[in-house]
Symmetry: C2
């Protein structure tokens, strides 16, 4: 797509075009957020202009500065020992309590494992689950989803299948899952709830359907709770008190739950997440694992194979910091979901801004209801495919990723992440959207 050379754009068009070329349109199409970010960094440096950054799902909130207890602070002084690859006992205990306090599920400390971000948790889940049963080697993505998860499977050479959940809500979900799983080649299925980027939220009934089919076909459901508790229509903020966010762990033992600390605790820079699985899956024995690991026990292969062999575990000091954060959350001293509510507030305002300037919301319904306000929303603009739109908006100082990169069938859309933008930037965003609309009628 060429920009009309006679149009003056808010950001110097030659510099944008040069950098898009330099980094490669492939990365934009692939929705590689870190590469897009790097490209925008370069454009910002060269033009001295600031972008409205909506490409990376990164927290825009300063993390809680937690003072560690004397015991944890003392442990933090000596970091010469390798971390246990399944996590420090103090952290495992707090993770288990957190799951009880905020999801009302019982997972013993043994089965609560810190990973180097949810990315490593997902990687370890993919790796181990595809080696579990002969012939079950394919990952099913309930899309749309996080592009990195698909890139990961592709890099690892795993087969993938997908469908767009938006078309299959409620009982329709059973039909499509039955069709996909009954072929017998699916090792694991992955979804995020709330969904990145469509922000649809699976209901208890839908999770029950996924669980039933996972059990019927012995498939592991990987539940990515990256935006933990951020369905702000309900108040999940209080430990040990209902309501609780829905989780598939209530309905099946064939599951692995990933909780990122990046968004919930604004801790993206520290690379730590919770990977939790039921004890029966942890202890499950699968002879096929011996083809790739020294053990046939699922949890052992996960920890002493998939995790240990790619990272050696998570930094001890980071584990101790998270211990402090979780302890504060578990004891009700840190109401972390109050901090993240601002995302919903910003989404509400920003959606209206896009709509006023000729854009439409792509994923606009959550089952029978209008889509909620959260970390992401999705928009399109008449006459553009998503990757063209993402690219064109770069000339207007706005960065995003195309929906096509998320496994969405709605190729016309782009994903907007509200997290980094500050309310003071709203007038500038509105101005740039107006300029865009003026030039693209």
């Amino acid at each position: 797509m060429e920009i009309d050379i006679n149009t003056e754009t808010p950001i110097d068009k030659n510099i944008v075009a040069k950098n898009v070329e330099l980094v490669g349109k492939k990365f934009i199409r692939a929705g590689n957020t870190r590469m897009i970010r790097r490209m925008v960094d370069l454009i910002e440096a060269e033009t001295d202009e600031k972008y409205i950054r909506m490409e990376v799902g990164e927290p825009g909130i300063r993390p809680l500065e937690i003072e560690l207890s004397p015991e944890l602070a003392e442990m933090k002084k000596n970091v010469s020992s390798y971390p246990p690859p399944d996590g420090l006992p103090v952290l495992k205990t707090e993770m288990s309590k957190f799951l009880k306090s905020f999801l009302d599920i019982d997972i013993p400390p043994l089965c609560c494992i810190p990973t180097v971000g949810s990315l490593n948790g997902c990687y370890a889940s993919f790796m181990t689950s595809t080696k579990r049963i002969k012939g079950q080697d394919t990952i099913l993505f309930i899309d749309p989803g996080f592009p990195a998860h698909k890139s990961m499977a592709r890099m690892l050479g795993f087969n993938q299948e997908t469908f767009d959940a938006y078309e299959y809500r409620g009982e329709k979900l059973r039909a499509i899952l039955y069709y996909k799983l009954s072929k017998g080649n699916i090792a694991a299925l992955l979804y995020s709830n709330p969904n990145n980027p469509a922000w649809i939220c699976f209901t208890e009934e839908e999770l029950k359907i996924i669980a039933e089919l996972a059990d019927e076909f012995n498939v592991i459901a990987i539940e990515d709770l990256a935006y933990f508790g951020m369905d702000f229509r309900k108040d999940f903020a209080h430990p040990g008190a209902p309501p609780y966010p829905p989780t598939i762990a209530n309905y099946t033992d064939n599951c692995m739950v990933l909780i990122s600390s990046s968004k919930a605790f604004s801790y993206a820079g520290e690379r730590i997440a919770i990977l939790a699985l039921p004890l029966s899956l942890y202890n499950g024995q699968f002879p096929n694992l011996l083809e790739h690991y020294s053990t046939d026990t699922f949890g052992m292969a996960l920890v002493y194979g998939s995790i240990l062999l790619t990272t050696g575990g998570v930094s001890q000091s980071v584990q101790l910091q998270l211990t402090g954060i979780l302890r504060a959350a578990n004891e009700g001293r840190y109401i972390f979901l109050d901090e993240t509510k601002v995302y919903g507030e910003k989404a509400e305002i920003m959606k209206q801004m896009f709509i006023r300037n000729g854009f439409s919301i792509v994923y606009d319904r959550d089952g029978p209801d209008p889509i909620a306000d959260g970390f992401f929303f999705t928009v399109s603009y008449p006459g553009f495919e998503g990757d063209e739109l993402s690219e064109r908006l770069l000339y207007y100082g706005i960065s995003s990723i195309p929906l096509s990169s998320t496994g969405s069938l709605r190729a016309e859309g782009i994903r907007i992440c509200v997290s980094i933008i500050q309310k003071e930037q709203f007038p500038l965003l509105e101005q740039r959207l107006m300029d865009f609309q003026k030039d693209n009628v």
Copy 2:
């Protein structure tokens, strides 16, 4: 192997036997140090006895408590942003300076990348190098080596080849490498220098041979400098002054160098290492990469594929701490190699202790010279295979790993790591070795 039920062993034989059974002899045979460690932890807890721990290559030195500069300390306060997957610019600069100061090689900051331990650096090197050129999909291990590297390749489903370097020193190395590489299927070769566990040290001439053949057959040489500068026969301690440890980076651009901070800086708990590669390899374009990545540029695939997609990069606060450590080392304020000299001193004493009690050194020569004293040495005992010996020594309160797990052909040997044992434990070690010899004549 059954222990004679009539023999009383220093550690309760029923408890040892039960735990060996529980964890599985497979893990001992596989040299899975973390699993062996866990087993020994359990035995210690149950018997209230302390083992002489020689299974894990873990530093026994408290790390330097470094005070960060105000600038770095300020950066450390905000960890809400994702780290750049190729590292913070301040760290990249110090890594580049470190390579100049302590190896006398010129690698620009762009090509100095922090990874979640050398394990993740090795993983990323394997992953990217096996996708580079069609048909070159096999890892060649110059053995003996670190068992985790082989387990990693096995988990990932990569083909592996191996030979035992001890049999091929000097010009013989050229012949075996030519034989292996000329088949055309090798993507990368890996060796550690000094060698884990044999402690043989490749010479400049040998590195030149490896480099020449890597160039001839377009194979990437992965150089694992886990025990950086620990050939204590030479004084490598002073930045910017010769002598420098030998490195293949002086002889070829087809290389990747891994420097663990675990042993050099006693920083194993923090999971951070340096992965460095020449600019020409970083910028190299390989169309085959597009089968698995969104880019055909090697460095981009490495960073935005292999590293980003498994960890998201290294914890920001850990990166900043390492920045402080490297800065102190580069400026000569922290003579880190003086700290690690104690390993050589302990090895000298411990070797004699084993020999006095009927053991022999397995890898006893380094080319024409006797093997040097360092982080590891290797022993055998008449009438035992290595895995039997490792297991039997557990009854005497001594933990180790069998050489067979390291790719060594010397199946009779075990690896002894001197790092954790403190000098005060020497009398206990001697006593246990005496007990062992008494029972096993």
